[in-house]
C-alpha cells in the first residue's frame, strides 16, 4: 500500500522512486500554478521542477505537522517569489503559446463553428494572460493563490509576508482589471464554475 505517509517515509530514507511517486501525485497542480504565474511553458517547467528539486533537498525537514502539499506549497511560493525571469520581454503572441496546439488541431478540423470557438478561446486566454502579465508578480501570485488554490486571505498574507488587508486589496484590483479587460457582464453565463462561491443571486 503506497499511502502518502508511507511514500514520505520512504523518500526521507533516500528512496528516489517513492519521491517520484509523490511528485506524480502533485506535479500537475504545481505545474499549472507555475504556468499561470510565468505565462510561458518552458519557464513554467523549469520553475516547477526547481520546486520539486528543492522539496527533494528539504524533505528531511518535513515533520508531518501539515499535509505534504501545504508544506510543498510553502516551498513553491518561495520559489515563485525568488523567480527571476530569464527572458525579460515576451511578445504578446508568445502568451497565447500556452495553449496546447494539439487540442486546436483536433477540434478545429471538425467544423467551422468549432474552429471559431477555438479562435475565440485563444483570444480570451490571451486577454486573461495579458491582464495577469500587467499586474506585479506579487499581485499575480496572490490572485492565483486565491483563485486557483483557494487559500484564505490570512493564509496568503502569512505565506507572502504582507497584511490580510493588502491581500484583499490586491485580489480586488486584479479582479477589477480582469473584469474591465474581459468586458464580462452579468449576462455571460456560459462559463464553467470556478473556485468562487456559488451564492444565489436574487430569488
Amino acid at each position: 500500500m503506497n499511502s502518502e505517509e508511507d511514500l514520505i517515509r520512504r523518500a526521507q530514507a533516500g528512496d528516489t522512486d517513492a519521491f517520484c511517486l509523490l511528485a506524480e501525485a502533485h506535479e500537475r497542480r504545481v505545474f499549472a500554478l507555475a504556468l499561470h504565474y510565468c505565462r510561458d511553458r518552458e519557464d513554467a517547467e523549469d520553475l516547477s521542477q526547481e520546486v520539486w528539486l528543492k522539496a527533494y533537498a528539504a524533505l528531511s525537514s518535513f515533520r508531518s505537522e501539515s499535509t505534504f502539499y501545504t508544506w510543498l506549497r510553502k516551498i513553491m511560493i518561495n520559489c515563485f517569489l525568488n523567480h527571476r525571469r530569464t527572458r525579460s520581454l515576451k511578445m504578446r503572441e508568445e502568451i497565447t503559446d500556452v495553449l496546447d496546439a494539439e487540442s486546436v488541431n483536433e477540434e478545429s478540423l471538425g467544423s467551422v463553428s468549432a474552429l471559431e470557438r477555438n479562435v475565440q478561446n485563444h483570444l480570451v486566454v490571451g486577454r486573461v494572460m495579458q491582464v495577469l502579465s500587467e499586474v506585479t508578480p506579487q499581485q499575480r501570485l496572490i490572485f492565483l493563490l486565491k483563485h486557483q488554490e483557494g487559500m484564505t486571505y490570512e493564509e496568503i498574507a502569512k505565506a507572502v509576508g504582507c497584511s490580510a488587508g493588502a491581500v484583499k486589496k490586491s485580489v480586488s484590483r486584479t479582479v477589477t482589471k480582469l473584469r474591465q479587460c474581459l468586458g464580462v457582464n452579468h449576462e455571460s453565463t456560459s462559463y464553467v464554475s470556478c473556485g468562487a462561491s456559488e451564492y444565489p443571486i436574487g430569488s
Binding site: 517520484c20 511553458r41 527533494y56 496546447d100 483563485h147 485580489v171 464580462v184 455571460s188 443571486i201
Partner: protein
C-alpha cells in the same frame, strides 16, 4: 440600509467567501433589493468563471505529462547521484580542500548594507582616534596648569629673631634722659632694625634654624 459603494467594494470578498457571516447576510439582503449591485456581483462571478475556464484550457494535454515526468525523474536522479558522490567525496582527505574553499569563500551582501557597514566602521575609527587625541591633549596640558597656578600658602607662624645687646651701667646713667632711654636696649628684628640704633649690627648673625617649606600638590613635589 446598505450603501451601494461599500457593497461593490465587498463583492470580490463575497465571491471568494471571505466575508464574516453577519456581513454576508446583510450583503445578500442588499443584493436582493438592489438590481444594479446584483448585476455587478453577477459580472464579478462571471469574470472569475471566465478566468478559471481559460486558465484550465491553457494547461497542456495528456501527452505532455509523460515527458514532463520523465524529465523531472531524470533531474531528481542526477541530483541524488551527485548528492551521493558529494557524500562519498567528503572524506578527511578532502577536508583541506574544504578549508581552502572556506577561506576563499565570498559572501554576497547587498550594496546598501555594505555601504552602511563601511560608514559605521569609518565613523567608529574616527571617533576612537578623536577620543585618544583628546586624552593626550589633556595629559599634555596638565603639567603647565600646575606650574602657572599661583597658590597662596598661609604662613602659620612668623619667627622673630632677636639679639640682646648689653650696655655698660655707667653709660646708661649718663644717658638718663627719657628721650634717650629707648636706645638703652636695642632690639634688632630681622627686617625692622632701626637706623638710629647706636652701634648695634646684625652682621654675622645667623639664625639657628633653617625653615624648610614643602608644598605638595597632586603628584608633583616642589621643594624650596
Amino acid at each position: 440600509m446598505h450603501n451601494c459603494k461599500s457593497t461593490r467594494n465587498s463583492l470580490t470578498e463575497l465571491a471568494f467567501d471571505e466575508l464574516p457571516p453577519t456581513q454576508k447576510i446583510h450583503l445578500l439582503a442588499h443584493l436582493d433589493e438592489c438590481p444594479s449591485c446584483r448585476e455587478e456581483y453577477a459580472a464579478v462571478r462571471n469574470a472569475l468563471r471566465v478566468v478559471d475556464q481559460k486558465l484550465r484550457s491553457a494547461l497542456p494535454s495528456e501527452n505532455f505529462w509523460s515527458g514532463y515526468h520523465s524529465r523531472l525523474r531524470r533531474r531528481i536522479d542526477n541530483v541524488s547521484s551527485s548528492d551521493y558522490e558529494t557524500r562519498v567525496r567528503t572524506t578527511p582527505a578532502s577536508l583541506w580542500v574544504m578549508l581552502q574553499k572556506l577561506a576563499t569563500a565570498t559572501v554576497r551582501v547587498p550594496v546598501p548594507v555594505a555601504a552602511v557597514v563601511v560608514l559605521l566602521f569609518t565613523f567608529a575609527t574616527l571617533f576612537a582616534m578623536h577620543a585618544r587625541r583628546g586624552t593626550n591633549a589633556q595629559v599634555a596640558t596638565g603639567s603647565p596648569a600646575t606650574i602657572t597656578r599661583t597658590i597662596e600658602v598661609p604662613v602659620t607662624q612668623e619667627k622673630i629673631l632677636t639679639k640682646v645687646v648689653y650696655v655698660d651701667r655707667e653709660r646708661r646713667r649718663f644717658r638718663s634722659s627719657p628721650a634717650q632711654k629707648e636706645n638703652d636696649t636695642a632690639v634688632a628684628t630681622s627686617g625692622t632694625a632701626r637706623r638710629d640704633a647706636p652701634t648695634v649690627s646684625l652682621v654675622g648673625f645667623k639664625p639657628a634654624e633653617q625653615v624648610k617649606l614643602t608644598i605638595i600638590k597632586g603628584s608633583y613635589k616642589d621643594e624650596k
